[in-house]
């Protein structure tokens, strides 16, 4: 277990180092700099600006200084766009917002996904099963911004139950969290149903039934735990997907989270802010994947503890790139 953890941590650090290095240099090699949109064409002012932000040094020196600041002080540097703000200050303001949104979406996805999957499996072949699975198929194909659009049309404009945009009150959280959760709830429902059906065919389930356990107890006490392994292995990509999906959802609902900062900082060539956001996302993703692997071992101690994960992996991509 310790060896497994150490190996995973090492791999994570490698990933983080590669991502930071690649992004750092690629950003600076791209045409266009942070001060190109500046009004003043005066080359002296430009040179001063570059010097003030330490952007006139050779690239490898900039990198060395950035890494040193990052490792020594956890310093992500100043934002090049928002004057007088440090990247860490901006992140400290926006990250909690994104975490609240993503966390609620994940909880929603789990509650509805597991519930629907269990219901479909328990009533296998019935109209309920067909309805839930069709709905899940639909949820999988619906881009989150389309869900958001339809929800806003119905619940914000037509019935005026929820506010259209903003962040702060629970009512404002409902529409964005639901639109973000939809595709993940759909996937979880499908995975849990498939897992349950497989497990329910096992011998020990028949034993439990023969013992006189009620169908509900068989489902939740005996079958749910082994059947949730595919769901758990999907949580890693799901978390990645929720993080990236919130890029769009935040911009639709005008939520001041990390996502909006990310796209904007990339467009503005705000090197430090963009890199800061990438670092935060990579760390979040790594921690999530690590937690998932640990949960994996807890649920089923037989799982191999290599980097590759178990066989349940094969069916599920471990990453949520196109999930939004």
């Amino acid at each position: 277990m310790i060896r497994f953890l150490a190996r995973r941590l090492l791999a994570s650090l490698v990933v983080l180092a590669v991502v930071v290095t690649t992004c750092f240099f690629l950003m600076r090699l791209m045409p266009g700099g942070p001060f190109d949109l500046e009004q003043s064409p005066d080359p002296v002012i430009r040179a001063n600006l570059l010097a003030a932000y330490d952007l006139d040094a050779p690239m490898h020196e900039q990198f060395a200084r950035y890494v040193e600041g990052l490792l020594r002080r956890g310093d992500l540097g100043p934002s090049l766009r928002y004057r007088d703000y440090d990247v860490s200050e901006i992140l400290a303001e926006s990250l909690p917002v994104s975490l609240v949104l993503g966390g609620s979406a994940l909880v929603l996805a789990l509650v509805f996904g597991l519930g629907a999957g269990a219901l479909a499996a328990a009533r296998r072949g019935s109209a309920i099963d067909t309805a839930i699975m069709s709905l899940a198929g639909l949820g999988l194909a619906l881009p989150s911004f389309v869900v958001a659009g339809v929800l806003v049309l119905l619940f914000a404009f037509h019935w005026q139950l929820f506010p259209v945009v903003g962040f702060g009150s629970p009512a404002q959280l409902v529409l964005p969290a639901v639109s973000l959760a939809m595709p993940f709830a759909a996937t979880i429902a499908r995975l849990f149903r498939a897992g349950l059906l497989e497990v329910l065919a096992e011998d020990w389930i028949r034993t439990a039934r023969a013992k006189g356990r009620s169908p509900l107890a068989v489902l939740w006490i005996h079958a749910a735990r082994p059947a949730s392994i595919p769901v758990v292995s999907y949580l890693g990509p799901a978390i990645a997907g929720v993080l990236s999906g919130s890029l769009v959802i935040e911009s639709i609902f005008a939520i001041p989270g990390v996502g909006t900062h990310f796209v904007e900082s990339a467009l503005n060539a705000d090197y430090n802010l963009a890199l800061g956001v990438v670092i935060v996302y990579t760390v979040l993703l790594t921690v999530a994947n690590l937690a998932v692997d640990l949960a994996y071992n807890l649920i089923d101690p037989r799982m191999d503890d290599g980097l590759g994960g178990g066989a349940a992996d094969e069916a599920v991509p471990r990453r949520g790139v196109a999930a939004p």
Partner: protein
């Protein structure tokens, strides 16, 4: 073999409707220049923000001019087929008076093109990677798959957004970099981050195939590794590859829509479904919502992606009865 595969496929629920939808979408996209619809970017301020309705209108010089610029052969054929008739307003118009039905049909071309091209990129990388890893020595295989495992943990989405946004934001956006280049950039980028699952699946299959008797026999007869890969292993991978292609296309299309939605994908006046959905969402904040601008692009995306997903699942089940679920 192929006949029975099709029968098994057709027996899966949902596969026939899915195939029908996909065929219709593909045909409509292909026939876009020939359809009696107004040009997708011809603005008619007098007709702005109209809800869906059916009316025959005149095919104007503006429409003709647009079509001749983008598709000369189509312009001629369309003229011959429908003369000056044009069906406008089928799906409503946007705030600039452009015809949504026409934009959807033309957008299908870009969305499908990006979906297929990016998937092709992913397939080429993924299949070669998996094939090479599966046929290499244990150590090489381990190293290659370890790399895939590590790559799974990289938030590529963010790296790609970063790169595309930087390319777009810089001064080069105004100078060089014409439209097609950006499209190419997009599907190379999307393809380059979507190959991991394909590599894993292919490698798994190769590992089991290389132990099969006929491969051992071929080796005993002196066949080189390259020859075994080409004529003994690759043909047995086609089914698997088709399944994962079908499942990758919708993911990739979703990603295109996502990028276009963020303003990082296809650039106006080019149209893709992602752009249309994004434009629709933008009108939602205005007074008086134009619901059709949100609903129709969403419907087009959902139907196509849903059909692709359903087809992929059905294909997987048809190819491997062991995997049949419920």
């Amino acid at each position: 073999m192929s006949a029975s595969l099709f029968q098994r496929l057709a027996a899966r629920p949902g596969s026939i409707p899915a195939l029908t939808v996909l065929a219709l979408v593909a045909l409509t996209a292909l026939a876009a220049p020939l359809l009696p619809l107004p040009a997708p970017d011809a603005m008619r301020p007098a007709l702005a923000s109209r809800p869906p309705s059916v009316s025959w209108t005149e095919w104007t010089d503006l429409d003709q001019q647009h079509l001749e610029e983008t598709h000369p052969a189509g312009a001629w054929a369309r003229q011959a087929l429908f003369g000056k008739h044009s069906l406008s307003g089928l799906a409503g118009t946007d705030d600039l008076g452009r015809d949504l039905a026409s934009r959807l049909v033309w957008g299908a071309r870009i969305s499908l093109l990006v979906g297929m091209a990016a998937t092709l990129v992913a397939m080429i990388i993924g299949v070669s990677w998996g094939l090479v890893a599966g046929l290499s020595s244990r150590r090489m295989d381990g190293a290659m798959m370890r790399l895939v495992d590590i790559a799974y943990a990289v938030p590529f989405l963010f790296v790609v957004i970063l790169l595309i946004a930087m390319l777009r934001g810089g001064p080069s956006a105004e100078q060089g970099m014409a439209g097609p280049d950006r499209l190419v950039l997009m599907f190379v980028a999307i393809g380059a981050i979507s190959w991991l699952t394909m590599a894993r699946v292919v490698r798994g299959q190769v590992l089991s195939l290389r132990r099969s008797e006929y491969v051992v026999a071929a080796r005993a007869l002196g066949a080189t590794t390259g020859r075994i890969a080409r004529s003994h292993i690759l043909p047995n991978l086609y089914g698997l590859i088709v399944v994962y292609l079908t499942l990758t296309v919708p993911r990739v299309m979703l990603f295109e829509a996502f990028l276009s939605y963020l303003g990082l994908g296809v650039e106006p006046p080019g149209v893709s479904w992602g752009i249309l959905a994004s434009e629709g969402m933008a009108t939602l904040t205005a007074v008086g919502t134009s619901w059709w601008l949100v609903v129709f692009p969403g419907l087009a995306l959902t139907l196509t992606l849903g059909s692709l997903n359903a087809l992929g699942d059905a294909l997987r089940d048809a190819l491997d009865p062991r995997l049949t679920r419920g």
